[in-house]
């Protein structure tokens, strides 16, 4: 399961995508509309800013907004950033790989199956963007 933090991040990004043309959006507005604890959301948005997904402006008329056009930001990127590995086990992860101590990857049944699961998931989340988060 995705952490609450990740779910909050997706809700917030969906909201910012909807409001993409409206300039900076207040954290407090997002928090209220999406029912996310304000201070927690602050941390999440700041993290997304540091990762170049969002940008922000201080002072009156300020707030957060998407740095790039929403169709250019993959869902896979957000998951990896906020939640961590997409794979079910470390030894099949592309971005968070760790060697498996006690098995030979070439001949490990678990490894093979989990590679399939990973690819099936990636096939979706690598081909969806923030645009796909918006309500319709």
């Amino acid at each position: 399961m995705l952490s609450k933090k990740s779910q909050y991040a997706f809700k917030a990004l969906g909201y910012l995508t909807e409001k993409y043309t409206e300039g900076p959006i207040l954290i407090s507005e997002i928090a209220k509309k999406k029912k996310i604890p304000l201070k927690f959301l602050e941390n999440i948005l700041l993290e997304l800013k540091k990762a170049d997904i969002l940008d922000s402006k201080k002072g009156k008329g300020g707030g957060y907004f998407l740095k790039k056009s929403p169709e250019k930001v993959k869902v896979a990127t957000i998951i990896r950033l906020v939640n961590g590995p997409i794979s079910m086990i470390p030894c099949v992860s592309l971005y968070f790989y760790e060697r498996c101590k006690n098995c030979n990857e070439k001949h490990c049944g678990l490894h093979e199956m989990m590679t399939e699961v990973r690819d099936a998931t990636l096939n979706i989340v690598e081909n969806r963007t923030l645009v796909d988060l918006v309500d319709y």
Copy 2:
């Protein structure tokens, strides 16, 4: 990611599948061969026994063994049992469903995408069994 507990469970079940014809296997043997902390493994195997996946025998010549034939036990069952939901978010889970507070499922982009991810994963883990865990 699957928890370590889940990964241990899979390693142990793979081992018991290999040794399926050899009668009861000692916890200590599994722990040693698969490098799993013995007392932790005890808890895991007991849980699998309570869920009718394993059975055990006490005393000399005792140990753990698969209760059913390994090709009859789905990987999906084990994941749900030891790790929890397979879905990425609660509102698309079949076995651990929770209503989403702040969105209309019929019109939620996230909901739709995560349903696809769930189905892609289930398509694999519902069609693989303990037999697929064995090294080859």
